[in-house]
Amino acid sequence: MSKEVILELKDVHTHFFTEKGEVPAVNGVRLSVCKGEVVGIVGESGCGKSVTSLSIMQLIPSPPGKIVSGDIYFKGENIVSASPKRMKQIRGNEIAMIFQEPMTSLDPLFTIGNQMIEAIRLHEKISKKEARNKAITLLELVGIPRANAIVASYPHQLSGGMRQRVMIAMAMACEPDLLIADEPTTALDVTIQAQILDLMRQLNQEKQTAILFITHDLGVVAEICDRVAVMYAGQIIEEGTTREILKYPNHPYTKGLIRSLPNVKKTEQQLYSIPGTVPKPQKEKIGCRFAPRCEWAFAPCFQANPPLYELENNRTSRCFLHEKEA
């Protein structure tokens, strides 16, 4: 790849130390994001996709959580060992994050303008008036009508879609190199979701902001991501370009996930379903995590966890079936 890599995760393990014992939420995640690229992390609930994003931001609540091993490089700097002071500079300035529910990320007691001015002035030495003007410009950038009036309103006066636009405006305030979006459209209706995805695509193209897009919706992935990593039980089990993964999935889990989606375009008689349920994160599981639900599982799957096999077209897949083929 010729493009400059701005974020690189190397074998990251994040565990939670609870009363019931150690819970390995993220188990050796390897991932890289290039400049201006949109990378998706897709998976079902409890697969560790949100913990991965919080690990990058160093926002894992500690205790009980801790990055027990692995390195995260941001523009060549290892941020796992970065000081809290340095992290404060990076957060918001170079890496920004937006969350699923914008209402819980906005303070209900302050106006939109107040919150934006605070965020802007934390990273830039400008006067309040200048910051306010900048806030208005940013709100216009994300397509908020009457930005002049909206800066003076409180979060509860805005709709869900508008709040998410405000969050994006705040995240874009310092023109970060990387935007982490954790299920940004999940709480929104489809017509509003289409608006927000359109906006994010536009920002990505105009500002060359790389986006790490975390979602459970493969449809959203197809819309916006260049590359996608599929997570299952704390590990990335398949990675490649969105087109490749969605058209020719390799891993049995990805195959099953795509087949079990009802499609608006087709009429199916019987929907495929993966038997069983998503496993809870637990310590020391022998074998492939997906083996108990996999229809192609064979002896080795129950003895060891398969490594990530490197396949053609820069793809990887964590499945012993590739060993068999080779």
């Binding site: 609930s45 489809v190 608006v264 375009k265």
Partner: protein, 337 residues
């Protein structure tokens, strides 16, 4: 010879045509009270003039974005919320006129499954008690018989009979939804209203539950009113689909007609906004401007005109009637009048 054949065919036709559930001009308004004396300040028209019918054995899907009144419609049909006006006919009976006692009897035939399987099961009751309660209410007095029926029901929905002694927290989301379904099936209902029944589940589990519901429908000749916001899920399970917006029905048709040839501008925009996991599916997307207006202050005329890309002058003043434009294809839009 000819006469009896005709008669029997007529009988069959009557049986098919006769809808199990008929909703006519259903309205549910909520009063917002405020001020010192709790005066009525304004009215929120959550459901405003909705009409449709559900034939026996069919699945009618209702889709719409949040706040469009789809859940309120479901609850008003069961009289879990008292409708403000309009008529609901279930199996030939006018539900509004029924006494509490008669209504309770009729409720046996109409059940509901809710979205959140965490909130709709009592955490302090065992699964056996949860499923047996509707049996007890509707007169199955013998404890042994109830126990037997609970076992049967658990197996029908794909759980094991030994699960009966466990508590809801010991199950996963998908299993909990199965318990909810078992409870709804307990008294052999005719109609089940599914209010976002699979929305809280993961994709792989959602498919399991949808397939289970299909299977049960064939096995017990059930009729479903399937309320959801997910257009692909509704397409998969329904025979006919109605689209709601701001308390009104916009379009109602056969699922294939609706998804392949949507007529109403809102349906067209809604369908084009659904992300599909097909990287080659390049489509013209209609991105609607603005947000859904508040139901407390709906726009005059057609409620959709503020966001409609094809709005005309008449849309701002006159409410379009919900009319049958083609056979079995109902639309409320001035473009087609």
């Amino acid at each position: 010879m000819i006469v009896p054949i005709k008669a029997s065919r007529k009988e069959v036709e009557e049986k098919v045509v006769q809808p199990l559930l008929e909703v006519k001009g259903l309205q549910k308004h909520f009063a917002v009270k405020g001020g010192v004396f709790g005066r009525k300040k304004r009215v929120i028209k959550a459901v405003d003039d909705v009409s449709f019918s559900v034939r026996e054995g069919e699945i009618l899907g209702i889709v719409g974005e949040s706040g469009c009144g789809k859940s309120t419609t479901g609850k008003a049909i069961l009289r879990l919320l008292e409708p403000s006006s309009g008529e609901v006919m279930f199996a030939g009976k006018r539900i509004k006129d029924l006494e509490a006692k008669e209504l309770r009897k009729l409720r046996k035939d109409m059940q509901i499954i809710f979205q959140d399987p965490y909130a709709s099961l009592n955490p302090r009751h065992t699964v056996e008690k949860i499923i047996a309660e509707p049996l007890l209410v509707h007169g199955m007095a013998a404890k042994a018989a109830r126990k037997q029926r609970v076992k049967e029901l658990l197996e029908i929905v794909g759980l094991n009979s030994y699960h009966a002694s466990r508590y809801p927290h010991q199950f996963s989301g998908g299993q909990r939804q199965r318990i909810g379904i078992a409870r709804a099936l307990a008294n052999h209902p005719k109609l089940i209203i599914c209010d976002e029944a699979v929305s809280a589940l993961d994709v792989s589990v959602q498919a399991q539950i949808l397939n289970l519901m299909q299977k049960l429908r064939e096995e017990f000749q059930l009729t479903y009113l399937f309320i959801a916001h997910d257009l692909s899920v509704v397409k998969y399970i329904s025979d006919r689909v109605g689209v709601m917006y701001l308390g009104r029905m916009m379009e109602l048709a056969d699922k294939d007609t609706l998804y392949e040839n949507p007529k109403h501008p809102y349906t067209q925009a809604l369908l084009s906004a659904v992300p599909t996991p097909d990287p080659d599916g390049i489509r013209e997307r209609i991105i609607l401007k603005g947000d859904v207006p508040s139901p407390a202050n709906p726009p005059p005329g057609c409620v959709f005109h503020t966001r409609c890309p094809q709005a005309m002058d008449i849309c701002k003043t006159a409410k379009p009637a919900f009319q049958e434009m083609e056979a079995n294809h109902f639309i409320a839009c001035h473009l087609y009048t």
